[in-house]
Symmetry: D2
Subunit: 340 residues, 4 copies
């Protein structure tokens, strides 16, 4: 249920509405838009306890809009203006296309510093790198853990970059948030609701990867789990490929997720061409497609020596391939009226 | 890597082998089979630090078998005999086909007691019911939490049943394990490695649902996360449907998962026809197919009044449909030489 | 649009209705049920040219039922009673479960005669075998063509079996129909509308395989292409596996297609476990599941020496495995009150 | 099997090799590259009857390369240089990105003439339009047939465009080829081998749509069916979306098919964003992505009044949206160094 306040509604009127919502045992979330304030009413019992007629009669209320979608806070209905996430001088979801890159796993100090230097040179703004690695097999390399976070932070600081890294458990949120600027929820954890809800009190933006078998609607619902309770809409959507029958790529990049997300949600969306492709040869074409389709950013895996990578070597770009790609991406960004 | 000890190997020889494994910084797990002992050597660095020649030379060692599969402990290579999980007088994975049933969510005391009575009458051994409910939308009913566990336990005890219920977070393992006999990992959490690993020190068996986009191999890897560190192979596999393009059912039941699991793994496998179908009309046919295919059990959703269910009403059987189905299942079990 | 005639409607009244349908430029098909006659009105312009009020007023008409499904003739709405296809003394869709078996390709006279003998001994009624083989690669073995048909017919006749074989082109319908009792449309041709329509004037029953990415609704539409113009509902549905992400089987058998088809259509349905599994080890479990789920028949690949088969050897059963399976299937058929 | 002739091999030597191939009962196809001639040896019995040693010894032969891929003529191994299809002054697969557009179905003279005018103005080179329409339901509009072809040809001629239109049956190849410049094989017929083989003697280029559940490798095999027997490599690949679980678009556009095809095949590839999206709102983003990814062309559905279209109205662009899109596409083409 969405309560649309009138364009001249006062703070006092808004407060009265929210008081009434609480009085019937429901939750709410407010979006102060440029023109008017929108209040989303939330709660499992909403159909039973919310009386639209009563609320429509309150002063300052213009309209009550029932929403049949299972997600609310991530929707354009709740917030019609694009969300721009501002962090450390960077805007995600604004005019600029943001380049994020780095190795799959932080493997050591020198490796991550070399990557950071290359990312900076290429015009990248954000350094990626895994310290806690979710691996299909428990016997694979699972990251340097806190030491990896430490290297990552220092490398990013040295070259004036921000840090995005994966968070795998509720227990490590505090630790990871101490080092990272953006917390990444991996594809396998997209419906780990325990983790999503724990993140909604975290003040840092969350990069939410789409699960390999998640419908777009389920992905937006997962975003709502994080947004529900947050002060600010701080979720960045990230498409990284669907599980399908095709085997020439690791996953199938759903490029249409970009225009679909832009239409139905106000949240920024970035593309991870590396996991989708699973093969470095296809990464440049997917990255270019993503920007042309309107993505707000790209998150790419690079490695000083892909063949020796402890994880995901096959899909990592060499430094020189990455440098060339970043130049091509700038040209495409500019062709669609954006900067990178 | 699998170390196959000779049939006459002594406890001392086995101990020497495990000491050597620890000495090179690796882990291991032992399977004492009827004929011989098998030792799985585990660890991310195994290729670097394990020298097969050296181990082959140790007394009592018959052979060293490299395993290319990403899972080891769940595999038939590690344990050729079927695992039978014994709990509260019941055997899962043995000769009997085990019937588990109950409501999607525990909604109240009377509802779960009525269900338990019906399950018992139908020959069921285990009562299912959700107290913590993972829901796609955060605004749906999410369970009665601890009160639900309490009702569930009392209902089961009253009718001499065991309890299986879902565990959604590391933080609630202790609580749920206090009430339940079997802990269920839901499909969405199949690759929540943080949760899986926390479960490997839990003494209770785990019913591991296959994720809707998980390949069978990934599912077995998830089992290995739980088995790695457990004293006993206490995982029950549960197939509940794949995400596909077909829309006349909620998911596509992968009935072939039964013979595939039986061939490649020693773990018991049960089928959840309710979530797969998403429609009560199709549940009986899927349940019958599952038993004919060789499943070790069935886990079915029932409800006193499916139309009023707070979750999954469309796929819940009425009590009378369930009673009829249980009779049909017994006939099929008997046709393939099993009891129910 | 479905016109339901009253239970006492006369032949003359029915004729008047059909005359009116033709008068407005539409087609129709009649189902004379046990209780009443149903007339399906067909045509692309139906919404524009059919006036329900006018038809409702005609004598003998009881009701006009708009059908929103894209298929009509294959639906239970058009024909509520199960269709039983009678051919050469066999009934498909009746009380008996029909066993069909044979090699993927007819490779020679001796091979097909040996197979026919084994099929007969096992209680099989229909001999399968490919003479025209659709192959993914144009460089694979593509069948013995007419000579294969000739061997197939003679082998079947020798052992009192019927013949089902694939038809790949409009041009060969006459030739194939001269030799075969049932014409099979392969999965790749399920939406080859040119072929489907050419078959609707053929007097022989058609076994219509579901395409590997066809939704069940599309499959029923394909059946309508054949039924539209046929005198009798002579289509046998055949599920043979869907294209999914799972790789441990060749395709994913959609076992739920059995109860879905039984609910929404009056046509018989058989299961092909061999193509679905792609691995002989999994064929028995799938075959048993199919019968338990209510399939009207099974079509299985067998071969005297699977390892030397020119096509699909990996999924073909040996004669002894097939003999054993047929015994198991009879027990399951009997457990659900059918014979085989 | 690929025979690589030396760079100085003479015509006589080549002829001797082909004579030997025929002598052992095999077929062949020749690619005269810029540097050297490549001979593909084809036939189901190749493993038995082709002796590499014997052929390696023939004068002029440099190397014999076994090919394990099931397709040969569509592969880069057979022809390393990009194939450029030249027709009516246009090049497909060359430097220019080719814009093809038109209505889903030709519905009447005025509609197709208005479309043709708009296509021409936007810089389009090829007019698309269906005269024979494959429809899932037999009761949908199935095209104006020959009259549609007639209108299409006249409209194209009036505005200096080429014509691409679908061919649905072997029987209509001659008729369609009389009107069209390029024959389209629809997605549902991608494995209609009867049709594919009949097209290999047709002199006109074929636009081969990828089936909605076809792996890329199967698609290339389908191309080989057409190429096998053709004088020239006259196949244009067309990706139009895969059948997946996602429901916010009609199909999932596999944008990675562009770089995969460019790497593994020499054939040109175009993208159909309209069928993939199934929603006009998403067509521009997909079209832009396709060009950025390196596609050689775009085939788009437009309609004077999409809401009144007899088929696929939801995915058709209005004339003004199409005009705007064509301008955007030119900018992107130019950004990657191509013209449109």
């Amino acid at each position: 249920m969405i309560i649309e306040m009138g364009t001249t509604a006062t703070a006092k009127q808004i407060e009265m509405v929210t008081r009434e919502i609480k009085a019937v045992g429901l939750d709410f979330q407010i979006n102060e838009g440029r023109e008017r304030t929108i209040i989303a009413v939330l709660g499992a019992d909403i159909k039973k306890t919310f009386d639209p007629q009563k609320f429509k009669a309150l002063p300052g209320v213009e309209d009550i809009i029932p929403i049949s979608k299972p997600y609310k806070l991530a929707s354009r209905d709740f917030k019609s203006e694009d969300t721009v996430i501002k962090i450390g001088g960077i805007e995600i979801g604004g005019k600029d296309v943001v380049l994020m890159a780095g190795p799959c796993s932080v493997e050591g100090e020198s490796q991550i510093f070399r990557c950071a230097e290359v990312v900076k040179k290429a015009g990248g703004k954000i350094l990626r790198g895994g310290a806690f690695k979710p691996r299909t097999s428990p016997y694979s390399f699972r990251g340097l853990k806190e030491q990896g976070l430490h290297f990552l932070r220092r490398a990013a600081d040295q070259f004036g970059l921000l840090v995005v890294t994966e968070i795998m458990s509720v227990g490590s949120i505090k630790l990871v948030a101490d080092y990272a600027d953006i917390l990444q929820v991996g594809a396998r954890n997209m419906q780990n609701y325990d983790l999503l809800e724990a993140l909604n009190s975290c003040k840092k933006p969350v990069l939410l990867k789409r699960g390999p078998s998640a419908e777009i609607e389920e992905w937006f619902c997962a975003a709502d789990y994080i947004l529900n309770g947050s002060d600010t809409p701080n979720v960045i959507l990230c498409e990284r490929g669907m599980k399908t029958f095709e085997r020439s790529t690791r996953y199938t990049l759903d490029i249409a997720a970009v225009p679909v997300a832009k239409r139905l949600s106000h949240l920024p969306i970035v593309i991870d061409p590396s996991h989708a492709a699973g093969n470095f040869r296809y990464v440049p074409a997917l990255a270019k497609a993503a920007i042309a389709a309107g993505a707000d950013g790209i998150i790419v895996e690079i490695h000083p020596e892909p063949k020796r990578a402890l994880s995901d070597g096959a899909q990592s770009l060499t430094f020189s391939d990455f440098a060339r790609l970043s130049e091509e991406l700038k040209v495409i960004a500019s062709a669609i009226g954006r900067d990178m």
